[in-house]
Point group: C2
Chain length 224, copies 2
Amino acid sequence: MKVIVAQKLLQANEEIAGENRHLLARHGVLTLNLISAPGAGKTTLLEKTIAALKEEMAIGVIEGDIYTTKDAERIASQQVEVVQINTHGACHLDAQMTQEALNALSLAQLDLLFIENVGNLVCPAEFDLGENYKVALLSITEGSDKPAKYPLVFHEAQAVILNKIDLLHHMDFDLETMLEQVKKIKEDLIVFPLSAKTSEGMGAWLQWLKSLVPKKKKLFATAW
Amino acid sequence: MKVIVAQKLLQANEEIAGENRHLLARHGVLTLNLISAPGAGKTTLLEKTIAALKEEMAIGVIEGDIYTTKDAERIASQQVEVVQINTHGACHLDAQMTQEALNALSLAQLDLLFIENVGNLVCPAEFDLGENYKVALLSITEGSDKPAKYPLVFHEAQAVILNKIDLLHHMDFDLETMLEQVKKIKEDLIVFPLSAKTSEGMGAWLQWLKSLVPKKKKLFATAW
């Protein structure tokens, strides 16, 4: 009985996620769903990424949080369009919440949309929001055994950010073990070891994003 | 409809949690439910705590994990009784799973039981397992804004471990802000800043545990 309810909910989620994907494709908005445990550094990564890219592409952000608007305030100070979703206790975003947020955004003007999910390495991995890619963040302070313990999010993701590498020399973190574990879960995962704080390693991540958004609406509009 | 189902599940959980609480009280086992995000250091804290206390009290552990037995293996090497619960995807332990684990333990011989919940700062806070106390762990690498963003677990807890203080000088962590936030959620929360890795600050935590378990079955049995 419980399983039936859960499957119905997931099925309904899939349908709305499909509508979201269609809407985003129609407007040509590349969308990334960022998933990590609390404190892995999603918001700091977004701040640095937006600062580096906002002159060359139009970026929007959907901020998922259980109760607060703290992260949305941090992002809004970067002068990009932000919509806050407060889940009021729910441990993940779903496609329905995302659809409401999409309807509040100027999709026709956006090139790249980040969705910062609720801080939770488990539940958000199960819910398709209609994004193009899921990106899993893991900070090295969480330990190198985490991919094996929480495999689903790494299986669903197309890229992994390995954050806080500035702390590598203060930790017992085994980078080789972690990379091996990740490749065992999914051979073709792209891994970006970086520090959003010091910006070390950010270049490869930014290059990847640029490769995903070849045509920029803003630049195109200016050219004409 | 969704709400009704959720409430029924929570109600059923409450009933079984009550049975667990009764069973644990009958055997005089003090039980702590450890809740944190992945990688905050629950297992390392348990390893150090067990090593420090196992000569003076009989300790058991229930290890919650989604798929693996890695943490249970680490704990079992300490020569204490361990039962593994694998949730197979579920993001938290519930009272039913806990009851099955309790039935597999030698409760009559135990003084202190730790339940290491699934690594998740959100969902486990909603589920009573029948424990005496919830203990929330937060590592300073997660950032000082986490109590305000994930208030429920701090509201439900009686004590907070603030782990990884050996990294304090490498972080932008604001200890004052974090302590203020915690006290705002719950005035009488006990906070233990410590490093399970270096053992700095472990003394106060161990003292608190000893104060909760005044009579030790093993010592009592020996005396007679």
